[in-house]
């Protein structure tokens, strides 16, 4: 055998010598402390049960108990403070795969793309513009190969082509001023998302016109959709019909259905 093998009694001494002094107490004292410990334990168990029930009984805010909703907001603030402006890695085009079709809310019916326009609204409801696709094609174009992450857990590396939201926003920056939010809707208004300004102005937040080099399919939000690696797919609205600047935090389809409003990654 090897050299490590020592006589068991030596080994025993070695192990014991390594233990620190452990205090001992008389058994009567132990019984007293033991009773106290069990009572503390029972109280702790009771407190945990009451706390758990209390949490479930709290009024729901958009589908989840208020303390949890507040925690999601707290988390949002924490991460905003830590590192809001970081960017996700981008990948070589060869890694890109076609993305699966997941959400159809707001795009169930095919539309005539020639008739499509997007309405741009200011924070007071005033219509700033009614644009067709040529405006977006005329803005600076870029390609972005990023990992699109679904809130359900799957992800895929997608090649998007289009324009940065920030380049689009430059057209209206002077007119809308310091607006904290942007709301986007499908033309039928069935699906809608809310974005905070720092997130939507992030250089990786894209108004996508293409997947790969091809124009978007209707299933993927033709002719114009949002794309980003920095929020879950639920925020990447397909078939944009309205872009509205907002002073208040806008409604968000999935945030109304228990999910986190910020949904940031």
């Amino acid at each position: 055998m090897n050299d490590d093998r020592t006589d068991p009694s030596d080994r025993e001494r070695e192990l014991r010598a390594r233990l620190d002094d452990a205090p001992t107490i008389p058994v009567e004292e132990f019984r007293k402390r033991s009773r106290r410990s069990f009572l503390t334990g029972a109280a702790g168990l009771g407190a945990a049960y009451v706390g758990w029930q209390w949490l479930q009984d709290q009024p729901d805010v958009a589908g989840i108990p208020k303390p949890l909703r507040d925690t999601l907001k707290f988390n949002e603030d924490v991460w905003r403070t830590v590192s809001e402006s970081r960017s996700a890695p981008e990948h070589p085009i060869s890694k890109a795969t076609p993305i699966q079709v997941n959400g159809r809310i707001g795009i169930r019916n095919e539309i005539d793309l020639a008739d499509w326009t997007v309405r741009v609204e200011g924070p007071d409801g005033e219509v700033l513009d009614e644009l067709d696709i040529s405006t977006f094609e005329a803005l600076p174009q870029r390609d972005m190969v990023i990992e699109h992450k679904c809130i359900e857990g799957w992800s895929s590396i997608v090649h998007w082509g289009g324009t940065r939201f920030s380049d689009f926003h430059a057209r209206y920056a002077d007119r809308v001023g310091d607006v904290p939010y942007v709301s986007l809707e499908t033309p039928d208004g069935l699906y809608y998302v809310g974005w905070d300004m720092p997130s939507i102005m992030h250089p990786q937040t894209m108004l996508a016109l293409r997947q790969g080099t091809e124009p978007l399919d209707q299933d993927h939000g033709a002719p114009l959709r949002l794309a980003t690696p920095n929020k879950y797919g639920i925020k990447c609205l397909k078939r944009i019909g309205v872009i509205r600047y907002a002073r208040e935090r806008p409604a968000d389809y999935w945030a109304e259905r228990s999910y986190d409003w910020h949904a940031g990654l």
Partner: protein
């Protein structure tokens, strides 16, 4: 008695002494360890329960080769029994709220282990692999004697260390999934976003397996051992005496471990 901490008795160099053969209570689990242990227990299960709700939405993991699946995580009966279906958003809300408590509790524990040097009782030493094998054989009644041990036997040291590593990895991979952009390049540590998701899931299964064995061993070890995790103390027949050199200063004589009577279990 492999898991039973009672057999770690007759500790070295205790200043207090009691008359020979009088039962005394000796502290084995300091208060901090007991609190952290019992707080961790429900937190871990809230994390696993809410985590499974998240996993459910994209439950892709299975054991198998090619298209043949030996076991898919999880059979429908599991989801139905635990009522996990279609509660992804709720799962996320709980996970990202209680996750903080789980991490804080774990961080306090880590600091405690380092500050008190308690980690030395847990980390396996160079004899651990051989001794652990003997412990397992002993526990399976294939060997009559158990190897000598300190506070924990070698099998315990290895499993507790593995559990601590798994807990650390589960937190790290969890953060990698939670904020892959903001914490980039953390996901790369796990081979990317999907790698982190797989590791996170595998660690969950690992912790559940540990839990099953842990329960069996606690049941085997008996009431005295279980009580020690609540009260902190085990009862011993003999006062602690010193087996290690230099010779014991007490008059109790050099009691060997085999003299140690466990009245508690």
């Amino acid at each position: 008695m492999s898991i039973d901490t009672n057999s770690a008795a007759s500790d070295a160099g205790t200043t207090e002494s009691a008359p020979p053969d009088e039962p005394v209570a000796r502290l084995v689990h300091p208060r901090a360890i007991r609190w952290l242990h019992w707080i961790n227990f429900p937190l871990l299960f809230i994390m696993i329960w809410s985590g499974l709700r998240i996993y459910w939405a994209e439950d892709v993991y299975a054991f198998g080769i090619g298209s043949w699946q030996w076991f898919a995580f999880f059979p429908d009966a599991v989801y139905e029994t635990l009522e996990l279906d279609r509660r992804l958003a709720r799962g996320m809300a709980f996970h990202f709220a209680f996750g903080w408590l789980f991490v804080i509790n774990g961080a306090i524990y880590a600091v405690y282990l380092l500050a008190t040097r308690e980690w030395r009782r847990i980390l396996p030493d160079r004899h651990a692999a051989r001794e652990a094998k003997d412990v397992v054989l002993h526990d399976l009644h294939l060997r009559t004697t158990a190897p000598p041990q300190g506070k924990y036997n070698a099998a315990q040291r290895i499993s507790y260390t593995v559990v601590l590593v798994m807990a650390f990895v589960i937190v790290l991979s969890g953060f990698a999934i939670y904020k892959p952009t903001q914490l980039y390049p953390l996901p790369l540590l796990f081979g990317g976003y999907q790698g982190a998701r797989l590791v996170h899931f595998a660690m969950t299964i690992g912790l559940l397996l540990f839990f099953v064995v842990h329960l069996l061993q606690v049941a085997r070890s008996g009431w005295g051992n279980f009580r020690s995790m609540i009260t902190g103390y085990v009862i011993e027949r003999r006062p602690p005496s010193v087996a290690a050199e230099p010779a014991a200063p007490t008059s109790a004589g050099a009691a060997s471990v085999s003299d140690n009577v466990e009245v508690s279990s």
